[in-house]
Amino acid sequence: MADLAPPPISPAASGPLLQVENVVKHFPIKRGIFFKRQIGKVQAVEGVSLEVRRGETVGLVGETGCGKSTLARCITRLHPLTSGRVVFDGVDISRLSAGQLRPHRRRMQMIFQDPFGSLNPRRRVGSIIGDPLAIHGIADGAERKRRVQELMEVVGLNPEHYNRFPSEFSGGQRQRIGVARALALRPSLIVCDEPVSALDVSVQAQIINLLEDLQGEFALTYVFIAHDLAVVEHVSDRVAVMYLGKIVEMADTAELFGSPHHPYTVALLSASMVADPEKARSSQRVVLHGDVPSPINPPSGCRFHTRCPKAQPLCSVEEPPLTVQAGDPPGHLTACHFPVAPGERLVGAAPEIKAAVAGFAAASPAMGEEGKG
């Protein structure tokens, strides 16, 4: 373990490790064969600001398509930003060229969602994990092999499996390979893009425990993206909730899960499953109507107003800023004109929807399942 010594402390070690400032990412939609013209843009991330302190885990939750993964790829500069800044350990990395970025990549790694797609099927596990060491010229030959085997042991793999191919491992083992690869350069920050959502529940727990152990052992900072609220609640110190490319609420984990203010957060929390049937029956579910609007043409004002049970005319006109609401601790930010008060019951459109679904299901039993979806 001698080689896995802590990384050198940089001059800016006192400030936050990562500052995301007003990051915007638009994907152009192009038409035409020879003369491509832009006919629109997908506004995947629309002005996100976020601060990650050293050693903490920031959870990022939201529905599919809300821009979580795009934000992760903007942070690690896998996507160029449309505008905004990403300051990593005091250095603005958002405008660096690929060559200038390389030394910073050593300290900022990523774990991917798909344990099958993220490992090259034609390369041996040893060379996959050893790649970061080779690219950054850290270790060669026998030394690299030794280090790779050490890493494999750290993440709970048999080092003798060095020469196997990814296809010879199970999903959980593959994710361990991904963790070992991310760990090889001894980074300070690891961005985990839904690291467990493709795994079985029993394996999810193993990987999460592994990540937590590694955090303690190697002083890691995580940005942890997931759509499973239970997982996020378990691993995160702070949680940010995203909706259509914007952060709608952000707070310490206990605060956010204990007294959510944004109607979207409330709906999201009420949708997660509770293991206790008594509690589940007594708890109130907020069913949002409609689908997430298209990020190509997002709603005006507050992006959530089209589905919000508390929406008022103001919401479609003016965008609420992400600020501390009256009576909240300083770290609890909410972007809402009419935040949900503790104990308030959000009913909204839920009864109509339920009635409609029930009526539809009764009319055609075979179609019932589809009607609900």
Binding site: R73, T76, L78, A98, L101, R102, R105, R106, Q109, M110, F112, Q113, D114, G117, S118, L119, N120, P121, R122, R123, R124, D131, P132, I135, H136, E160, H161, Y162, N163, R164, F165, E168, G178, R181, A184, L185
Partner: protein, 348 residues
């Protein structure tokens, strides 16, 4: 002997179980077998591949021992020999006459020796041109697919242009300007062949570069060059090998075509193409061995490479594996069909 459906299915089951046990054994080994080695193992069990390899080895041996054949028979591949090479009426010998195993041509040269020397040219051109075309097509296809944008637009249009070019006309013009020679022939064939490979490699690269492992490579700091040749290329090896194998016979026929038209390597070097051309006017169909023998040599070579290419594709393509396995296993399970099923299940 007829089998009931039950017996047939249980045979297949036994065969599959054996196979899965094999797979288990393979995974127990500490070193995983690479996909290419697995493909080689599959290829080794393919009878057609062995036949094809034998045909190719036969022609390769003929090419290697060509000078020896010339020495042993005492016949030169180049010099006309109207004294010893023709009979008393001045007619060429047929196969087996006058000590000439495959007969002589219209100027008395030993056809066996010339076919052997022709094999050298055919195989050399076929393999070298294919190598050049494969390497060129792979590199340009990778670059085109990976970078996209104007580089892709340029290279993709170039591939279209090359593929739509009348290559025989181009070869005739080039031979007229520079004079036919071996390097020119190889160059012309390679130039008109790379685009077919380039196009497929480009398409594969386009799909591979969207995979998450490419993103993972970028996130650890890999450069474009490394991603193209270390990460993506190994995933393209299978189609490239198949295409390459199937390109060899095309190149050989291409070379024969150019030589037949007199714009290839050219006389006095014996090639199968100019043997076909030289002999057609004077002797025609009466002296059948003039054209039948080089044609057979050409046929064996191209058939060998084509069959091998098919087998290689079967071995490399996972989609055909199932079909291939059943074909193979039914042959294995055949003789044991009469045995009691319980005995077979107990066997492993």
């Amino acid at each position: 002997m007829s089998l009931s459906p039950f017996e047939v299915s249980s045979q297949t089951f036994v065969a599959e179980e054996e196979q899965s046990l094999e797979a288990l054994d393979a995974s127990r080994a500490i070193e995983g077998r690479s996909p290419l080695r697995l493909a080689m193992a599959r290829l080794r069990t393919d009878r057609m591949a062995w036949i094809a390899a034998a045909m190719i080895v036969l022609m390769a041996l003929l090419a290697i021992v060509a000078p020896l054949v010339s020495t042993l028979t005492g016949h030169s591949p180049y010099n006309p020999d109207l004294v010893n090479g023709t009979n008393s009426f001045g007619q060429p010998y047929g196969p087996g006459e006058g000590g000439f195993i495959l007969g002589t041509d219209n100027v008395g040269r030993d056809i066996l020796v010339r076919v052997a020397y022709g094999a050298r040219i055919s195989l050399l051109v076929g393999v070298l041109a294919t190598l050049l075309a494969t390497v060129g097509g792979t590199v340009l296809g990778l670059v085109s697919g990976y970078f996209g944008g104007w580089i892709d637009a340029l290279l993709a249009r170039l591939m279209d242009a090359v593929l739509s070019f009348p290559y025989v006309l181009a070869a005739i013009v080039l031979a007229a300007v520079f004079g036919g020679s071996l390097p020119l022939t190889i160059g012309v064939i390679a130039f008109f062949s790379w685009a077919a490979i380039g196009r497929i490699v480009r398409g594969q690269t386009l799909s591979q570069k969207e995979k998450e492992y490419v993103e993972a490579a970028r996130s650890i700091g890999a450069g474009s060059f490394r991603i193209m040749f270390v990460d993506i290329l190994p995933n393209l090896v299978a189609p490239v090998i198949v295409l390459g194998t199937l390109l060899v016979p095309v190149a050989i026929v291409f070379e024969a075509t150019l030589d037949y038209l007199g714009v290839g390597v050219g006389p006095p070097t014996p090639t199968w193409g100019n043997m076909l051309a030289d002999d057609q006017g004077s002797a025609g169909f009466a002296a059948w061995w003039f054209w039948v023998i080089p044609s057979i040599a050409l046929l064996i070579t191209t058939l060998g490479f084509n069959l091998l290419g098919d087998s290689v594709r079967d071995a490399l393509d996972p989609r055909t594996e199932r079909l291939f396995a059943t074909r193979r296993k039914s042959a294995v399970a055949g003789p044991a069909a009469g045995e009691p099923i319980s005995g077979e299940v107990a066997a492993p």
